[in-house]
């Protein structure tokens, strides 16, 4: 049997990879990819705890489904915002988009 710690360690590593992507990507779409990685890591944690605590109740699975739903909505709205920005100022690099800063 696989220990629970292995799943948690994999989720932690995946989460940190996502954080690194969010912090370093210049393209806004790359930042969205990093966010998807982090949401997937959280889902692995939820499903692993559901498997190891209550294998018949599956609350973690339900939460993972809600997380997937919110991730889909977030990707749709985020990409729409990115396309709208691109249409207005012809670039989506987050270090150049600072019209709302001052």
């Amino acid at each position: 049997m696989i220990p629970l710690e292995w799943y948690l360690a994999l989720a932690a590593v995946l989460f940190c990879t996502g954080i690194f992507g969010v912090l370093t990507r210049r393209n806004a779409i790359g930042i969205l990819m990093g966010i998807e990685l982090m949401l997937n890591a959280a889902n692995i944690n939820l499903v692993a705890f559901a498997r190891y605590m209550h294998p018949t109740i599956l609350t973690g699975h339900i939460f993972a489904i809600f997380v997937i739903t919110i991730a889909a909505a977030e990707a749709a709205v985020g990409l729409a915002i990115i396309i709208s920005i691109y249409r207005n100022i012809e670039l989506i690099n987050v270090d150049k988009i600072n019209v709302m800063k001052w």
């Binding site: 990685l37 889902n43 990115i82 709208s84």
Partner: protein, 188 residues
């Protein structure tokens, strides 16, 4: 020693250095390595389209992890929603902003030197938490999950389920409204 189908003894010489890897653990390690390697490729690739393709591989690896956790329904949802819908959505956005891909602009910021220690610090804290905490949980044998998920979505979690559908509707309307071309105040 009789041959056991589910355990392969590595380093069988010397009693103190025997550790057994079951087939389950071997498949977990393979899937986890694939997931991790493609996730690293997602955040480090120069070409953003290549990192999108590696993102598909990462999602597939997470689906494999779900299968190892005997979450059959979630694995199918992962493949359908993430690989089938979200990746295609991101691909559309990449194609619509393809001028940036062609220009060969640098995809990473200069602040990765700062970001790497921050990320490694968070990773060390998380791994330390995982290792030091005595979880002490054993996985019980689990059956198919789809029926239980459907029943609890329709009984105990009915209100969040309906709210999620409203959230999806609002997101769809919002996405259309945001991405729509605004012709009213821009005569050009």
């Amino acid at each position: 020693m009789p041959f056991d189908l589910h355990s392969i003894n590595l380093f069988d010489m010397g009693k103190q250095f025997v550790f057994t890897l079951t087939l389950q653990k071997i498949s977990f390690l393979a899937v986890a390595f694939m997931t991790f390697a493609s996730a690293v490729a997602v955040v480090t690739m120069k070409n953003i389209f290549h990192s999108l393709l590696f993102l598909v591989l990462t999602f597939l690896g997470v689906a494999g992890i779900y299968l190892l956790l005997s979450a059959d329904f979630l694995a199918a949802v992962q493949v359908l929603v993430y690989i089938g819908a979200i990746t295609v959505l991101i691909m559309f956005a990449l194609m619509l902003t393809s001028k940036l891909m062609a220009k060969r602009v640098s995809q990473t910021m200069e602040q990765w030197i700062v970001a790497l220690p921050v990320t490694l610090g968070i990773l060390v804290v998380l791994i330390r938490l995982v290792v030091l905490n005595p979880w002490g949980m054993k996985a019980a044998p689990a059956g198919p999950t789809t029926g239980i998920i459907g029943t609890s979505l329709m009984t105990k979690y009915l209100l969040p389920f309906e709210l999620a559908s409203i959230v999806l509707l609002v997101a769809v309307v919002g996405a259309i409204l945001l991405a729509k071309e605004d012709k009213s105040d821009d005569p050009s």
